[in-house]
């Protein structure tokens, strides 16, 4: 079943745009909608990301800052780290958010904790994190290696850590399980970073505490 052909006033019988409507082979009547959408595209895909890149996070951690990582799970931050993501326990939100991880940066070092629903032992969680992280890397040199090391937080909760290497440097992947929440810990940076930052990361991991689900 065929419909009617394109109306004659759209194109000439020879399939050309009428001369009075032609600009560089295009139909002048189609320029406005095309340019409007091009404008929308440029705003959202070029301008807004450029503005985002030009802006920077100006929040820096202070002594005593405590971040909400997940319902009932908190972490005490070390001083002087830039906050790219993370809700302080002292901040109140209308949505009564109980936190959704944290991303801190200091020089070339990044430290991220990502919570997710998980029930089970910490070792299978670390294996899953290794698998997901490895698959998500575009860096083919990414390799999780080394022995799995156990650690305990200050309040005595057990977790696991494993090192990895990339083209740019090295890092640590870790796992903790609290109730029905799993925590993925990722720290990364160039191998030239001073020991002091690694020590601060270790202290932040150790400070993670759990108060249990809110009643």
């Amino acid at each position: 079943m065929s419909g009617t052909p394109i109306p004659s006033d759209e194109l000439t019988a020879t399939g050309r745009v009428p001369a009075e409507h032609r600009v560089f082979g295009l139909d002048r009547r189609t320029l406005l909608p095309g340019l409007v959408v091009t404008g929308v595209f440029l705003v959202w895909v070029v301008l807004i990301p450029a503005i985002n890149s030009a802006l920077s996070y100006d929040q820096t951690t202070k002594a005593g800052d405590v971040f909400l990582l997940a319902p009932g799970v908190e972490m005490q931050a070390q001083q002087g780290w830039g906050v790219e993501k993370g809700l302080l326990a002292s901040e109140t939100t209308r949505s009564k958010s109980e936190g959704d991880g944290v991303l801190l940066v200091n020089g070339g070092v990044s430290f991220e904790i990502t919570p997710g629903p998980y029930e089970g032992d910490v070792r299978p969680l670390l294996d899953s994190i290794d698998k997901v992280t490895a698959a998500a890397q575009s860096d083919e040199a990414f390799t999780v290696g080394g022995d799995v090391q156990s650690f305990e937080t200050t309040e005595g909760h057990p977790g696991l850590l494993q090192t990895y290497t990339t083209k740019e440097g090295e890092g640590v992947i870790g796992a903790l399980v609290y109730g029905e929440t799993g925590l993925q810990i990722t720290a990364a940076g160039p191998s030239t970073e001073p020991e002091s930052k690694l020590e601060e990361i270790a202290q932040m991991i150790a400070s993670i505490s759990y108060e249990g689900p809110a009643e």
């Binding site: 409007v36 990502t114 997901v132």
Partner: protein, 397 residues
């Protein structure tokens, strides 16, 4: 029931049919390939970017949470087919050309989602905490992002369709249905990405189960989602822009667009609006119902124009004896009156059913006449013969 004796339709009735078909754009063919049209190149370029981003998205996740991806995709396809069937069934007067519907759907699913919104959303969601702090970003980031980024990127596709098919896309009805298909494409592709994202956030453990849980939640709330928002937005755009078939009505148009964006924003920000309590869902639900009601009002208000078009197309069929004047009146009436007409024609269930079938076949004839540009093609003659055959059923009853 008897029809009037066959005679040639009056020239003015045939002329009116021709004018109606031209004005309404009914039956006009749509083709995407229009190298002389800037809208085609913009559509193709953004679609290409969307496809590349989509492939990267799938590649990055298929190896990690392949089960979640497959489960989310399968469930979404079934859900999507139901939605498509509902939307196509709802197009009573004239169905949009299939190619146009597919073009709209793919814009929503690929170009708007992966070509623009995914980039814009990521940037906007970082800008708010940078400017106003993490707490503000947590509360209002999504509500102040999606209504702007997503509604405008979806509407951009509708503007391209206006430029690609100016003789097909003309009435608020076209805006509602094409907008709904753009929104449906966006909604379905987003459903899959949400299923995959939640499975990834759960470290890939029990991935299929988590993906299906996410899908189920989004399916339930899917009524108040992109299909509704975009139908309202694009209906409003027709009023704002104005077409040969719909004079510009800025107030109505801006009102519909604002309602669409407001509903989207309230839905995304319901947790903060409701102060984290039970009123959160209620706020979104109430505004969603208002938006749904506005859509039905818009449909009811714009339907008379479609019925007027239908009458213009079918009037000559009364004069040539294919249908009766009463059948034409019923055909050009709201659904309730059509059903009442069928119930009161003849006696017995068989007669009622036969009359209902005659009305349905009359609509098929209208579609065929629209596609033939009002000419008596083999298809048109076939539909007339069908009506005569079904009318035999009424006589027998």
């Amino acid at each position: 029931m008897t029809t009037t004796p066959q005679s040639a339709p009056r020239p003015d009735a045939l002329d009116r049919r021709r004018r109606v078909l031209e004005l309404s754009g009914w039956g006009q063919e749509f083709r995407l390939w229009q190298p002389h049209n800037l809208c085609f190149w913009v559509y193709a370029a953004v679609m290409a970017i969307g496809i590349v981003n989509l492939i990267n998205y799938v590649n990055d996740r298929a190896t990690v949470v392949g089960g979640a991806f497959a489960a989310g995709l399968a469930a979404t396809i079934v859900y999507g087919l139901l939605f498509v069937a509902f939307l196509r069934f709802s197009e009573h007067y004239e169905r949009q050309p299939r190619k146009l519907v597919l073009t709209a759907f793919l814009w929503g699913g690929v170009a708007a989602t992966f070509g623009m919104a995914i980039v814009a959303n990521s940037a906007m969601l970082e800008i708010y905490p940078k400017l106003f702090g993490q707490a503000f970003g947590t509360d209002w980031g999504a509500a102040l992002t999606a209504p702007f980024t997503e509604e405008t990127t979806k509407a951009a596709g509708f503007i391209l369709l206006l430029g690609l098919a100016p003789r097909v896309v003309r009435t608020p009805y076209d805006g509602i249905f094409l907008g709904a298909f753009i929104g449906l494409g966006f909604q379905l592709f987003e459903d899959v990405t949400y299923s995959v994202a939640t499975a990834t956030a759960a470290f890939g453990v029990d991935e299929s189960h988590i993906a299906l849980q996410t899908f189920a939640l989004r399916a339930v709330t899917g009524v108040f989602s992109h299909t509704l928002f975009t139908a309202l937005f694009c209906c409003g755009l027709i009023f704002v822009i104005g077409t040969p078939a719909q004079p510009r009505r800025l107030g109505v148009g801006i009102g519909l667009i604002a309602l669409s964006m407001l509903t989207h924003g309230v839905w995304d920000g319901s947790a903060a609006i409701g102060d984290g309590g039970a009123t959160a869902l209620l706020a979104g639900l109430v505004l969603g119902l208002i938006a749904l009601a506005a859509l039905f009002v818009a449909l009811r208000r714009t339907a008379p124009k479609e019925r007027e078009f239908l009458r213009g197309v079918m009037q000559p069929e009364v004069e040539n004896g294919t249908i009766t004047a009463a059948e034409l009146d019923a055909l050009c009436s709201p659904g309730r009156r059509r059903r009442k007409f069928a119930r009161h024609s003849g006696t017995g269930h068989r007669a009622h059913c036969a009359e209902k079938h005659v009305l349905r076949a009359s609509l098929d004839l209208a579609h065929e006449l629209a596609e033939s540009g009002g000419r008596d093609t083999a298809g048109v003659e076939h539909e007339r013969a069908e009506i005569a055959r079904l009318r035999g059923g009424i006589a027998a009853a």
